[in-house]
């Protein structure tokens, strides 16, 4: 993995330890059974906030750590390993929007609350089932926003929405003029249709014409980090299983056909890590090729997680098909993350366009 600073290393190790001990996959299974209205475990979210994770991106003057995207990614990666269900990723995406596009007043109003874990925030862009930041019909008139957003992550509980309207991004608080309809999806996480009907909206006026793209790129990069953790964990669990399962009097891991499938997956995983960390580093360095780096990361991450989660089931055989086993959790969440913020095909097309192909 990327060479981290001492501070980043401490953060990553703390997240790894917390996920392994306090929020293993059994915690996700319990959350699914309890089905809280928020779509996540509030106690786990509160612990994360106490450890300062909600404020990783938030500048120090607003009560955060001001650590950047590689640091955020190193935490999300650990959470992805055990499928931790909290609104950290969605809130970070909204945080990015406020940092990039907010006025001093907007930052002072929201960032300290976000850093303290008092506000769950999210970004609402899509108005259909596929990522399409170009087709936005939601509009604002006289400071009131109207329009319907589909499949908004953490839409069930978010108190603050960053909403894409036809003329830019707006902050909308989650009460007056906001109607939510839960969308129960395969990954058992919170997704909701959110209808805005004359909701008071406060424009994020800074950040330039490409603010929406910048925010989507940061949301995608954070998603890639979660995908990286999921893929590595799914791969490790599969490797462990092959070393214990015996058929024909042999451990499955001694069969060369399976060894080579694992070696190929390992190869793709190493490439995925490079691409994902490369995108996070590009954002931190504010490099001019952020968009290309993110498209590279999301396309490679999408393809690789798809491969690993599919093979996790196939190589586990029948047991991997059962609800009792965790493999299903991984492939369901994987398919959601492969789709959100643009699937591999969408990002390949954008990469081609940006490269002048």
């Amino acid at each position: 993995m990327a060479v981290l600073t001492e501070e980043q290393t401490m953060l990553r190790d703390m997240a790894r330890e917390w996920a392994d001990n306090e929020s293993p996959v059994t915690a996700f299974r319990k959350m699914r059974a309890a089905a809280p209205v928020e779509g996540y475990d509030p106690a786990a979210w509160s612990e994360q906030a106490q450890m300062g994770w909600a404020g990783i991106l938030v500048p120090e003057e607003h009560g955060g750590a001001g650590m950047g995207y590689l640091a955020l990614g190193s935490v999300l990666e650990q959470l992805g390993r055990t499928l931790v269900a909290t609104p950290l990723g969605a809130t970070a995406a909204a945080t990015a929007a406020i940092i990039l596009g907010g006025s001093d007043e907007q930052k002072a109003k929201w960032l300290p609350k976000i850093a303290a874990g008092e506000v769950v925030a999210t970004v609402a862009v899509d108005e259909g089932p596929n990522f399409d930041p170009v087709r936005i019909e939601a509009s604002v008139s006289g400071g009131k926003l109207s329009g319907t957003k589909e499949f908004v992550a953490e839409g069930d509980s978010a108190q603050l929405f960053v909403v894409a309207a036809s003329d830019g991004l707006y902050l909308v608080e989650g009460d007056a003029g906001v109607a939510r309809a839960t969308r129960k999806m395969a990954d058992s996480r919170s997704h909701a249709q959110v209808a805005f009907d004359g909701a008071p909206a406060d424009k994020l006026a800074n950040g330039g014409d490409d603010l929406l793209q910048k925010v989507c790129d940061r949301a995608a990069a954070a998603t890639c980090a979660e995908m990286l953790g999921m893929a590595e964990s799914a791969f490790e669990q599969t490797n462990d299983y092959l070393k214990t399962r015996v058929q024909f009097g042999q451990k499955l891991s001694t069969f060369q056909a399976l060894q080579h499938r694992m070696a190929k997956m390992f190869t793709e995983l190493e490439m995925m890590r490079s691409a994902v960390e490369g995108a996070l580093e590009a954002i931190d360095a504010d490099r001019p090729d952020v968009a290309q780096s993110v498209s590279l990361a999301k396309a490679v991450a999408g393809d690789t997680l798809h491969l690993v989660s599919r093979e996790m089931i196939q190589l586990h055989g029948g047991i991997g098909m059962t609800d009792e086993h965790d493999a299903g959790f991984y492939i369901k969440r994987a398919q959601v993350l492969e789709t959100i913020w643009g699937n591999a095909a969408w990002h390949r097309e954008r990469f081609a366009r940006l490269s002048g192909y």
Binding site: L242, K243, Q250, T254, F266, A275, E349, S355
Partner: protein
């Protein structure tokens, strides 16, 4: 031209070295050679070197900067890794290139520095550092390819010397080599422990070399026959039976050189595929590559290449930070091979019939090169441990998967 910083006031000792390197290069690198890296043709035989090429090689050889990090006492540059990087930067800045290369530098030298006796190091390393002696590798045999340890070439103990009989194959540059580092069998009752690492003089009358013609028309490899070749025992590296250990260590150097930083510039070199595609296949109304399917496959290839470059960079940083090789380095050979081959196949597809020209009129130089590159590229996933062997290594060494019982 930028003024050189004043050495008296430099805080960073590297800056002082940078000044030294810059001044020396300005004095010694012939500007006629700028950007004309002929390292490949040197390995493959090539044409007679020009006077400037001879002078440049001599200057670098005497300075030891062709092998910058090797110890000075054996003719190396004696530089730290950081200084070597500075040297590389300074050379890149003026289009200078390293005229010292080949298997002696990339594989045999580092191995001998590790396992050789003082006498052996003093005998062989300076000549490698000066580029005076060309080495070839005597490993593979007709019956020992991926299963290298089953090699049969036998070295019979005659007291002060061995008598070697047998056949090697895929000897890169065997027809131009002065010497050969070889794995031979000194004990027929053991497999791995019966192998010994020896140095053979290619001018011995018992050595016969026959170039092998490949599908690409080139003959970079040879069959090498040993008939009663006398090898003094002073030319054995390590102990009898230690050859497998030493030979494997050398293969690690080989893998690094086959897939590592050296290939990065080659991967990105040449006309970009997207440009080639527009040139041969045209553009649509919006200026995109006209064939949408081809366009997307070029994107996939380009993304694969970028992820590979990022992985090489990451592996280098991790190795430096952790003082040891990164797990990511185990995937380099296979990914490098697939990218090289994929690029050649895409290039050929783009050119259509023009990308299949063999020789003569009617084809551009680039088109003729395309054909040969495509065919030669088939070797990349076979030599230096095939893709399948690399996958075995990943499965066993990294993933801890075991042999079938």
């Amino acid at each position: 031209m930028a003024t050189a910083p004043d050495t008296e006031t430099l805080a960073d000792p590297l800056d002082a070295f940078r000044v030294e390197a810059r001044e020396w290069l300005a004095k010694n690198f012939p500007s006629s050679l700028k950007g004309k890296d002929n390292a490949m043709s040197a390995v493959e035989g090539g044409s007679e070197p020009t006077a400037d090429e001879v002078a440049w090689k001599k200057a670098m050889g005497e300075k030891g900067w062709g092998v910058p990090t090797w110890p000075k006492e054996y003719g190396g540059g004696g530089l730290s890794r950081a200084e070597a990087r500075v040297l590389q930067e300074e050379m890149g800045r003026i289009g200078a290139w390293n005229p010292i290369g080949g298997m002696g530098v990339m594989m045999f030298g580092p191995t001998l520095l590790e396992y050789g006796t003082e006498e052996q190091k003093h005998e062989h390393i300076p000549a490698i550092a000066k580029g005076e002696v060309r080495w070839c590798q005597g490993y593979s045999e007709p019956g020992a390819g991926s299963d290298l340890a089953s090699l049969q070439t036998f070295a019979e103990d005659k007291g002060d010397y061995y008598v070697v009989n047998g056949q090697k194959t895929w000897t890169s540059g065997g027809q131009w080599a002065d010497k050969c580092f070889a794995l031979v069998r000194t004990d027929k009752t053991k497999k791995h422990e019966g192998i010994t690492f020896v140095l053979i003089d290619m001018n011995d009358p018992g050595v016969e070399v026959r170039p092998i013609r490949l599908i690409s028309g080139q003959s970079p490899f040879c069959e090498t026959f040993f008939n009663d070749v006398k090898v003094p025992k002073k030319d054995r590296v390590g102990e009898e039976g230690q050859g497998w250990t030493i030979g494997k260590r050398l293969l690690q150097h080989e893998r690094t050189s086959l897939s590592g930083g050296g290939s990065a510039s080659r991967l990105l070199g040449g006309t970009p595929l997207s440009k080639l595609a527009k040139q041969y296949r045209g553009e649509d109304a919006e200026g995109r590559i006209a064939d949408p399917d081809l366009r997307m496959r070029i994107v996939r290839h380009e993304m694969d290449t970028r992820a590979f470059m990022l992985t090489m960079r990451r592996a280098a940083l991790e190795a430096k930070a952790n003082q040891g090789p990164s797990a990511a380095s185990s995937i380099m050979k296979n990914v490098g091979a697939r990218i090289t081959q994929n690029r050649a196949e895409l290039g050929m597809e783009i050119m259509g019939m023009a990308g299949l020209g063999w020789e003569g009129e009617g084809f551009s130089e680039e088109e003729l090169a395309q054909t040969r590159t495509w065919l030669w590229g088939k070797a990349v996933s076979i030599y230096g441990g095939s893709t399948e062997i690399q996958n075995n290594i990943i499965a066993k060494r990294i993933l801890g998967m075991l042999d079938h019982q």
